[in-house]
Symmetry: C2
């Protein structure tokens, strides 16, 4: 039977120096760099400089570069799903939530031009075929976001705001697809108006 080290420390009155950094802040900074420069394009030194961590602290707490990458992906994924859920909490019907989310996504892409799109999309492009763990995170993210889209679509149908001619799942995949597209498009020289138009046409396609 294993006991958390923390408990043992208390039992024996041992309280060593505590971590000088915040795990989430490190993952956030790391995710940001990975998003900008890709996995193979970012060096440990850059991460150290951006996080202020020492080499040994990073390796002690995050094992190695690849493991840090996966943890950063998970962190980013959680944040993205949390953003969806915060939209979900708003007092809107499903269709309005979809519309709101797409507008927000476009605004974010335009207002943060240096952020290089989306870590999930970039990871899918760079790593999905090379690293099964990365592809699992990406795949899971896709399923979760599609599921939320499905719920919103069903809500809109229940409230008679929408009348879909195909299974809901076709449309939720369609929406997820369009969202991924926007994240690529924003890296391909598209203007804000173009992105907004794509969002509009996409949402109107549901009618």
């Amino acid at each position: 039977m294993y006991v958390p080290l923390h408990y043992i420390s208390i039992l024996f009155n041992i309280m060593p120096k505590v971590k000088q950094f915040n795990r989430n802040e490190v993952l956030s900074a790391a995710a940001h760099i990975f998003q900008t420069k890709g996995y193979n394009g970012t060096s440990i030194d850059e991460i150290l400089k951006a996080t202020g961590l020492s080499r040994s602290s990073l390796y002690d707490s995050f094992s190695d570069k690849h493991s840090l990458y996966l943890q950063s992906l998970e962190f980013y994924k959680s944040n993205q799903e949390a953003a969806f859920e915060s939209v979900d909490k708003k007092e809107m019907n499903g269709l309005e939530k979809i519309e709101f989310l797409f507008k927000e996504a476009v605004n974010h892409l335009i207002n943060h031009p240096k952020e290089n799109g989306c870590l999930m999309v970039n990871a899918a492009a760079e790593m999905s075929k090379l690293c099964i763990q990365t592809s699992e995170i990406i795949c899971n993210n896709k399923e979760n976001l599609q599921e939320i889209f499905s719920e919103w679509l069903m809500d809109a149908q229940n409230k008679k705001v929408l009348h879909l001619s195909k299974p809901v799942k076709s449309y939720s995949t369609f929406l997820f697809n369009a969202l991924c597209g926007l994240k690529v498009l924003s890296q391909s020289g598209a203007s804000k108006n173009e992105l907004l138009n794509v969002a509009k046409v996409t949402v109107e396609a549901l009618h």
Copy 2:
């Protein structure tokens, strides 16, 4: 005044050893590796092994890794645009061409799962914010493909197959967006049916 070396060679009866490789074959192989592993993920050694070239031949003919990457992008871009134009030559109306192209795109993505999506999309994700030359190629590719989509949409309108309520450009961007999305989606664990459904909903959105 400068004269092509080739001419001088003929004038002076000088005919040195000719190149032992085909430029397009090298670019095709290089584009393939860059697509699979990304720019920063592929080493010169891998390219040498895949192309059979010697180190010096590669540097003589393609300058350096970065230049080879850009040339591979241009090569891939030309092929992609040629594929669009070969669809354009078919005896179909614009809407049928759009439908055909999307189905072909899905089939290609499914039938070549190891190819890692699309070099243009992957390059947009990895390099667009880091390398202006890359972003120019990507941007130009976007404009060219959108232009073809626009022509097809206008053709469909002229033939009364389609009645669009917004400017044609909104829809051509929408189509290009969906196409980019599909290339990400195929890397995110989507099934063939999902991709086909997205293509269907996308095309039907035009009605």
